[in-house]
Symmetry: C2
Subunit: 338 residues, 2 copies
């Protein structure tokens, strides 16, 4: 019986991500406990700063993938909880460093940690969480798990460096863009799912299936996120839009819109993305351009292809509630953008 | 036959650190090769930035401790080379992040990477090197080695956060100061030596001996460094002095001098360390105060006690050239300050 049933909440009231949470509810509670236990430090600034971000309502998607993968592959132990906490620590560390690098002002609707405490503690607490992640992984006792996540962390950092080069650069190719989102998003989604299966001692075909599911889901999520940032409807629903535009990030909607732009639009993009200045009214025009040129529709179409690949990748996995739920999570990732 | 003999260089011409290098010369060459091989990335900014620091004439003290510890404990394999490279990567990553946090202008006599490339790449390349370090450690196949260095990395980050709190703060206690240098310097010295012995499968007493040697040597090194920063003689020898003073770091020489200061000197320290402004002529007066109050002499006396402890810690280790050399390195750490 899932927690959703236990709480008498009709399944229809839950989003697919909530349903997946409900299927591993006890594991996720244990993971949250491990996360908070292992944030501890005699230096109180560390848990204060880390909790600010960790308790800010993130969806815990990556540890959710780890827990679901381990359980779906029949894992009966309890070390997947530490692995899931490690995955969330790596993610949190990269967010802290990202927000310093991007000089972000908001994260999950709250003031970013770098604005509350400054850049210095954000850098150092990121380093602390990264180290703690490896301590937690050591406790799983599985060297191949460490190998996957150390490799993923290196690729994430490479992707972030690559992204610096594409900022303010309208010459960024679709291929460069895909390399960046592969590194900064798909790699950790993929490693989260793969490492859960590995810890469970799953057969190679299942491990490869979950790795591919995580990878394709990660790309789809990022494509949808990047489309939403230019969505007029998201703005109407009270979601924040225009962050990427204001930071002059060259995402797929911009790459496609720019490649299809007339002279006037090209001058607009060059000013707003490459040279500045950018004015508040520019966002509305940017949204109009990406919609008119079909850039948003094409970004969503591409996301759809990755969702299809994510679904196909689950074929070797055991049928059941968790697999059904993972399939729905993939579909849902598109729904966010509709 | 040591390289020093092979090259017909009389031993007396070499510093103790150079002699230790000579005793593990082939291992150190292999370590340098591993360091450069593993810096590789399709994102060329990563090796460019990392090499700027890694090839800037650092003494490779930490990997030297790892190699010496492994060999002294009879290690006959080749995985200590990857462990030594990992240790240097962790050290380099912390330097890159330190220089961003301290807004450093120079590192090892060259422009700091943050000034050449900016803060963003320095943060991200630090993350990359840290991840690569864990990949290298995975390749050693020894979980306890990973455990020691993951723990050390967490403590280093904690120490850096603690240090932020003592900046500009003359109320910093001697105890707080020791906690900071223990975390930011002694922990990695200690882990470097201990992990080499562990990899070699040394008996527990030898592992503990090398761990304690590294710890005490690390504290002594940092105490001497902090004394040298206020040394009139170092200035005469062309060494850079006054960096800590200009950054308003509260090191032991300042803590001791301030605790012994008369009213006029207290006003001087409060202005130069806590409130500003600081003028160029202030360094000369600061040096005079720390020397007159005996703060430098007492810092050196404390370093001497840690050197004695480092020497005692080597008692359980096998007699031989490497042990002799490690004893001389400890003595030499004091000589730098005389």
């Amino acid at each position: 019986m899932s927690t959703a049933e236990a709480l008498k909440i009709p399944d229809t009231a839950l989003s697919p991500v909530d349903r997946l949470h409900a299927l591993v509810a006890a594991d996720m509670t244990a993971t949250d406990r491990a996360i908070h236990d292992r944030l501890g430090s005699a230096v109180s600034l560390i848990p204060d700063l880390a909790k600010h971000l960790i308790d800010s309502g993130g969806k815990r998607l990556r540890p959710l993938l780890t827990l679901a993968a381990a359980r779906m592959c029949g894992y009966g132990g309890d070390r997947h909880v530490r692995l899931a906490a490690a995955v969330e620590f790596i993610h949190t560390a990269t967010l802290l460093h990202d927000d310093v690098v991007d000089a972000s002002e908001l994260r999950r609707g709250k003031l970013a940690a770098n604005l509350v405490w400054g850049n210095k503690p954000s850098i150092l607490v990121g380093d602390f969480l990264f180290s703690r992640a490896f301590q937690l992984m050591v406790e799983t006792g599985k060297m191949d798990v460490l190998n996957i996540l150390a490799g993923a962390s290196a690729i994430i950092a490479e992707g972030e460096v690559l992204q610096l080069k594409s900022a303010n650069n309208l010459k960024t190719s679709e291929e460069d863009y895909l390399r960046v989102i592969e590194a900064k998003t798909a790699t950790l989604f993929s490693a989260s799912a793969e490492s859960g299966a590995l810890l469970a001692g799953a057969p190679a075909g299942q491990i490869a299936g979950l790795k591919a599911y995580g990878y394709n889901l990660g790309i789809a999520f990022q494509l949808v996120d990047d489309a939403l940032d230019y969505s007029g409807r998201a703005a109407q629903m009270g979601k924040s839009v225009g962050d990427d535009f204001r930071e002059a990030k060259v995402t797929l909607p911009v790459i496609l819109a720019f490649s299809r732009a007339d002279d006037e639009a090209r001058i607009f993009w060059a000013r707003t993305i490459e040279t500045g200045p950018q004015h508040e009214v520019d966002l509305k025009r940017a949204i109009a351009y990406v919609e008119e040129t079909g850039a948003i529709a094409d970004t969503r179409d591409m996301a759809r292809r990755y969702v299809d690949a994510a679904r196909d990748a689950l074929a070797p996995l055991p049928k059941g509630e968790i697999r059904d739920s993972l399939l729905q999570v993939a579909e849902f990732s598109l729904g966010r953008a509709s």
